[in-house]
């Protein structure tokens, strides 16, 4: 029985299934928020989570990863993110229901009343401070900070992992070259976050939780934060072992587990497999199919969607054209990630455009 569960979990957590199921779960939670925001749901989630942890604790391989001191914050992160996502969605649902009945959001009345900072705010701060200090002290007494062997630049540990908060980016390295995964995409994340207040012209939902008034924004942030950031960190921490190969949570980290890589470029698909001829020597000609695909992705799609999306987001006001194109460009870069992942899983795609001569691979 125990082994059957372990094998099932190992099978369930392989990247393709893990990612697909996470996507479906997140969208379903948002869609059926009437039911998923019930108090019993979050209690049930934590009970199941703790039960799973208790069950899995006895497994040598699982225990080895979970008890690493630096992985404790990730458990805290997971619990906190689950709870706060649920809380925000619950309040959003309650607010949406209230507003449908013509009532102000939960924050509405409370936002109008004012209370004295001393003592009302100060004592909340004091309680938080004392609780957190106590928590931190217990944690510090209970768990020693890790220290491994002294640095040796000649001995590379396998796997070499970035600090946990960057593991989402390291996971992207499976699908993209470093200039995208490590430089360009992180830059776009920061730029994109900064651009949000200037792109989003929806005046609703300022200062209270809501889903229906900001359905796209909230879904976008859930997908971006929970799916592509948090779930990638979980994946990178617990499910990636030596050589960045995939390992189920109950699987032994075998150094020799090597998944054969037989990935193929778009240019090979086009010239060799489709036209049955060798790839042309000229780089531009060789990569023209991939370049054409990227051209469609980055230039044709925004043009085609311009009219409907402009109408929906900005009431067709053409003075917002720059907003629209900045947004689309950022979204399309973001969208390239799941597209590339799907292509890798389905047709073993390596590069859409592959010009290793110039280190320019997409």
């Amino acid at each position: 029985m125990g082994d059957a569960i372990k094998n099932f979990v190992d099978w369930l957590t392989q990247p393709t299934l893990y990612f697909t199921l996470s996507t479906v779960a997140i969208l379903a939670i948002l869609k059926y928020r009437k039911y998923t925001t019930k108090i019993s749901v979050i209690i049930g989630t934590f009970v199941v989570g703790i039960a799973f942890l208790a069950f899995a604790w006895g497994d040598t391989n699982f225990n080895r990863i979970i008890t690493k001191p630096d992985n404790i914050p990730i458990i805290i992160l997971l619990a906190a993110v689950l709870y706060f996502s649920w809380l925000s969605l619950r309040r959003a649902y309650l607010n949406d229901e209230r507003m449908k009945q013509g009532m102000p959001p939960l924050e509405g009345d409370a936002g109008k009343q004012k209370v004295h900072t001393w003592p009302d705010l100060v004592y909340v701060e004091l309680i938080c401070l004392v609780l957190f200090t106590a928590f931190l002290l217990f944690w510090s007494i209970g768990v020693q900070a890790p220290i491994e062997e002294p640095a040796a630049t000649a001995r590379t540990p396998n796997p070499s992992k970035a600090p946990w908060y960057f593991l989402g980016l390291q996971e992207l390295l499976v699908y993209f070259d470093p200039w995208l995964a490590g430089v360009l995409l992180p830059t776009f994340i920061v730029v994109g976050l900064m651009a949000i207040p200037y792109i989003d012209k929806n005046p609703k939902g300022n200062g209270y939780y809501t889903f229906e008034e900001r359905a796209f924004s909230v879904t976008f942030y859930w997908v971006g934060f929970l799916l592509f950031w948090i779930s990638f960190i979980i994946l990178g921490t617990f499910l990636r072992g030596p050589n960045w190969s995939f390992f189920g949570p109950f699987e032994y980290w075998d150094l020799h587990k090597l998944a054969p890589e037989m990935n193929v470029d778009v240019s090979t698909y086009f010239w060799v497999k489709l036209l049955d001829m060798p790839r042309p020597a000229n780089i531009f000609l060789r990569e023209s199919p991939g370049l054409a695909l990227l051209g469609v992705w980055f230039f044709i799609i925004p043009k085609v969607l311009e009219r409907p999306i402009m109408a929906k987001l900005y009431d067709g006001d053409r003075s917002n054209l720059v907003r629209y194109h900045v947004m689309m460009h950022l979204l399309l870069w973001f969208g390239l990630i799941p597209v590339k992942m799907l292509l890798r899983w389905t047709v073993d795609l390596k590069y859409i455009v592959g010009i290793p001569e110039w280190f320019l691979n997409v």
Binding site: L87, G108, T117, D120, I147, W179
Partner: protein
């Protein structure tokens, strides 16, 4: 006991520090905030929603608190730590064995991890309540930079124990820099930057070299990260935090329905 308190409150010393009597009236509660340097970060009155934990999650405040914890524990750690390849590892190891109440490294590390989490959750809350919307667009931007700084602070600190974990995590992280377009020697476009067949961007001159002070993570990197971790980034972060808090006030306080 009560009398003793009363007596202390009547002394000239007490009165020179606190210029109001016990804050149990609206007037004295106002004065308690206005006449206290630390409390005057806050407005005299706040929206009731602003003290509702299920609205604010308290994550911004906790982040600031953790920053203060990091500053204090970090300062204490600096007494015992020498940022050289020769001593760094030994000093960290000695912290565990030889220093009384050697909890500082633990507290520093766990608080750092927690701070990353609280920053993310703070941003999550601010997004979900639409609190980046006008008039708070600029403060959201300051917040994004503070988020990046938090990660950089954590990342630079990761190297300092100078063990295998530290060196290789930083190696993995900084290896990305060599692929920076134009500025990294394995980045697209770098080959275009050459004069008379002489490459301007190579392993000994690219952005990664500048970051690491060498071709790989070495003693120069340790010093560079140490200085950034203890002086550079905290100074920038503290400045931006001051702006962040000030702007919260100027933009209408903790957000609430308009």
């Amino acid at each position: 006991m009560n009398k003793l308190f009363q007596a202390i409150r009547q002394t000239q010393i007490w009165k020179s520090i606190f210029r109001h009597s016990y804050p149990d009236t609206p007037r004295n509660r106002t004065l308690a905030v206005l006449s206290n340097f630390f409390l005057h970060l806050h407005p005299v009155k706040v929206r009731r929603s602003g003290i509702n934990l299920s609205y604010t999650w308290c994550m911004g405040g906790l982040t600031f608190f953790l920053f203060l914890v990091e500053t204090i524990t970090g300062l204490l750690l600096m007494f015992y730590y020498r940022p050289t390849a020769e001593y760094a590892y030994q000093d960290i190891f000695a912290l565990r064995e030889n220093v009384p109440l050697g909890l500082m490294r633990e507290a520093h590390r766990w608080a750092a991890h927690l701070m990353v989490i609280t920053v993310w959750l703070h941003m999550y809350r601010v997004f979900l309540t639409g609190s980046y919307k006008p008039p708070r667009e600029f403060n959201w931007n300051v917040g994004v930079i503070l988020l990046v700084l938090t990660l950089l602070l954590s990342f630079t600190g990761y190297l300092l124990p100078w063990d295998q974990l530290a060196v290789w995590a930083v190696t993995v992280g900084t290896n990305m820099a060599r692929a920076t377009p134009f500025l990294g020697h394995e980045g697209p476009g770098a080959a275009l930057l050459s004069i008379g067949g002489l490459d301007l961007v190579h392993a000994g001159s690219d952005v990664r070299f500048g970051l690491l002070a060498g071709r790989f993570v070495g003693e120069g990197t340790l010093l560079r990260f140490y200085v950034l971790h203890c002086v550079g980034f905290p100074l920038i972060a503290a400045t931006l935090m001051a702006i962040h808090f000030w702007r919260v006030r100027k933009d209408g306080g903790i957000s609430g329905p308009l």
